[in-house]
């Protein structure tokens, strides 16, 4: 492979991974904006999306139906999580720190449940289409990468349209900006919190379904993906949806090239270093820098 195609190869895998990070990160940022807390259990919803759809597919459901049902199940679980853990804690005036630790608790409970149900084996989800990998300028492209990229772009566009053009989407943004004002125009922040956890559960599951054909699905696949999504969100400045998307792609590309440099074992460490450094050095995210510069 020529150096150029090598670079292209890294870029493709970076974009593929990055779009997954971006997708999960959007869920994180939206929940954070609405509820003021990071849902550290979100990675486990990614796992569930992948494993549940694989199980349903194996049980004989058509692939699409399996996907839809898995997303619904994850959404329902997100709602249950909000009602049984987050909402009561808020009522008891729990601190943010307590709430965050609660989401960690929910996360490992789900992970333990996945482990009990599915064990430690990797499962395979068939790619969305049957084409063979092809080469572009010397770089190998697997069709699933295109699916992931394409679907991620569709999802992002749909979310964007939702927030920009629909009444509900605008209402949500209003609530983010001002809770009291939102109440005045008849939006109930509590219900919005429920909606946020439900929707991000679904979004996480979707990301899991996209990524499963590329990486295999295991009970602990979501943990690192979820963490990487945090890195993406933090890169983008925590409250900023476009920032999270850019952060996701940046991290994906950084990792893809990082693997070439430091080896795959240290790849995850790279993301952690990026996360800690950004929090310490530029807590407003990299986009903050761009904005100020512009």
């Amino acid at each position: 492979m020529s150096p150029e195609s090598q670079l292209l190869q890294y870029l493709i895998s970076g974009l593929t991974l990055g779009s997954i990070y971006a997708l999960i990160a959007i869920g994180l940022v939206v929940t954070f904006n609405i509820t003021g807390i990071f849902n550290l259990a979100l990675g486990e919803f990614v796992t569930l999306g992948a494993l549940v759809s694989i199980a349903l597919y194996a049980a004989g459901l058509p692939l699409i139906a399996a996907f839809a049902l898995a997303v619904l199940i994850a959404a329902a679980l997100g709602a249950v999580m909000e009602r049984t853990a987050i909402h009561p804690a808020r009522k008891a005036n729990a601190t943010i720190l307590t709430l965050v630790i609660i989401t960690i608790g929910v996360g490992i409970a789900i992970r333990g449940a996945s482990l009990l149900i599915w064990g430690t084996h990797p499962y395979i989800l068939p790619p969305f289409s049957e084409h063979a990998p092809f080469t572009v300028a010397g770089a190998v492209v697997i069709p699933q990468s295109l699916w992931v990229l394409g679907l991620a772009v569709v999802c992002v566009a749909a979310l964007f349209a939702f927030f920009e053009f629909t009444y509900l989407g605008k209402a949500v943004r209003a609530c983010v900006m001002n809770r009291t004002a939102a109440r005045l125009v008849g939006i109930n922040p509590q219900r919005l919190s429920l909606a946020a956890f439900t929707a991000t559960g679904a979004l996480g599951a979707l990301a899991g379904i996209f990524v499963a054909p590329i990486t295999f699905a295991t009970y602990d696949m979501g943990f690192m993906l979820g963490l990487k999504a945090f890195v993406a969100a933090i890169l983008g400045g925590v409250t900023n949806v476009p920032g999270a998307i850019i952060g996701g792609f940046l991290l994906g590309i950084l990792e893809a090239f990082g693997v070439g440099l430091v080896g795959s074992g240290l790849k995850d460490g790279l993301a952690m270093i990026v996360m800690i450094l950004v929090m310490l050095i530029r807590p407003t995210g990299i986009l903050g820098a761009f904005r100020r510069g512009a």
Binding site: A92, T95, L116, F223, G263, I276, M279
Partner: protein, 351 residues
């Protein structure tokens, strides 16, 4: 109406000493005696081994309890300090041939030094960011343990840790480790108790109560938090060093994220804002793990891996929802009987 009862206020320390002389001394002596004779009575190596492990965890959890319950800070990377201590002890004695006792003494210094370096910036972070930063740090250290194969042996582990020997006495049995670990755990408890019941302990609780007011009272809150963070890392490292010599073979797996969660759980379940709480938490959690490892395969024969985390998660959520102060907390709030306290206050400043 001036309160005439003001004269009988005693310094709380006097009270404590008095009480110590009566109730608690008996209790402590009883518990100590129980610990002393336990290894003589128990013939099952299984139970003794578990209690040794509980001893390691207690030391870690006491340190984390100080951080969590007194300084009001959290660390989801405590297992990394535990692991750093273990690897430091192993590598210094195994690879570099240090006398094991010296290696054990040096082991806590590595995590303490690391905590001193990272603590300054990390403890400035709040809430999510503190959680994520400590969690990220823990994962980073875990990855480094796996990847620095030349030094650590990588995922397949580090072998060749010599026996710990203290002045010619070679420690090789569970019984010996039991006494060593619990002796050190007891010292840790005493030290923590001393700290909490001192000027510094009051300052720590003050930070927990109100950081601005603590600063306004002249407390360097950032520095004090850092000191507790370093202390907690030191204790985790000490426990890790002991663990390395006890187990004589270490690999990265007990030092991962789940172990960090486990430590937080011990502190939270036991009640982080008491000195005893984390020790009780260590007993409860280790007991639970052992019970589950026995019970779950009976129900689900195919279950494997660390499935106990499902219960960790549930307990963590339930504990935070229903007993945020932990099972050890007994709110010692004496109910005031005079309803006319407000009236008294009227004449308050006139003396």
């Amino acid at each position: 109406m001036g309160p005439s009862g003001a004269e009988h206020n005693n310094f709380p320390g006097d009270e404590v000493e008095l009480v110590l002389r009566n109730k608690n001394v008996i209790l402590i002596v009883l518990i100590a005696a129980l610990f002393a004779v336990f290894p003589l009575m128990v013939t099952s190596g299984y139970y003794l081994g578990i209690l040794v492990i509980v001893g390691f965890y207690s030391i870690v959890a006491i340190g984390l309890g100080l951080l969590l319950g007194y300084a009001g800070q959290v660390s989801f990377g405590q297992a990394a300090f535990y692991g750093l201590g273990a690897y430091a002890a192993a590598i210094l004695s195994g690879t570099y041939g240090w006398p094991p006792l010296l290696a054990l003494a040096a082991a806590p210094l590595l995590p303490a030094a690391v905590a001193a370096v990272i603590g300054q910036p990390i403890l400035k972070l709040k809430e999510h960011f503190l959680v994520l930063a400590t969690l990220g740090f823990g994962i980073l250290v875990y990855i480094l343990m796996k990847e620095f194969v030349d030094l650590t042996g990588g995922p397949s582990g580090y072998t060749g840790i010599p026996y710990l020997s203290i002045g010619g006495l070679v420690l090789s049995t569970d019984k010996q480790f039991f006494y060593l670990v619990w002796f050190l755990a007891f010292l840790t408890l005493v030290g923590a108790w001393n700290l909490v019941n001192s000027r510094m302990g009051r300052a720590l609780r003050a930070i927990h109560g109100s950081e601005p007011a603590a600063e306004a009272a002249g407390i360097d809150t950032a520095r004090l938090k850092l000191k507790v963070f370093i202390l907690s890392a030191f204790l985790a490292g000490l426990a890790g060093g002991l663990y390395a010599f006890y187990i004589s073979f270490i690999s990265p797996s007990p030092f991962g994220f789940h172990a960090s969660i486990q430590f937080v759980l011990m502190a939270v379940v036991g009640g982080a804002a008491t000195i005893w709480g984390p020790v009780v938490g260590a007993f409860v959690i280790v007991g639970l793990i052992e019970f589950l490892r026995w019970a779950v395969p009976v129900v689900l024969p195919k279950a494997g891996g660390e499935f106990e985390i499902i219960f960790f998660g549930l307990i963590l959520v339930l504990a935070l929802l229903f007993r945020p102060e932990g099972i050890m907390s007994h709110k010692r709030r004496k109910q005031r009987s005079e309803p006319d306290a407000g009236k008294e206050a009227a004449g308050t400043c006139s003396t």
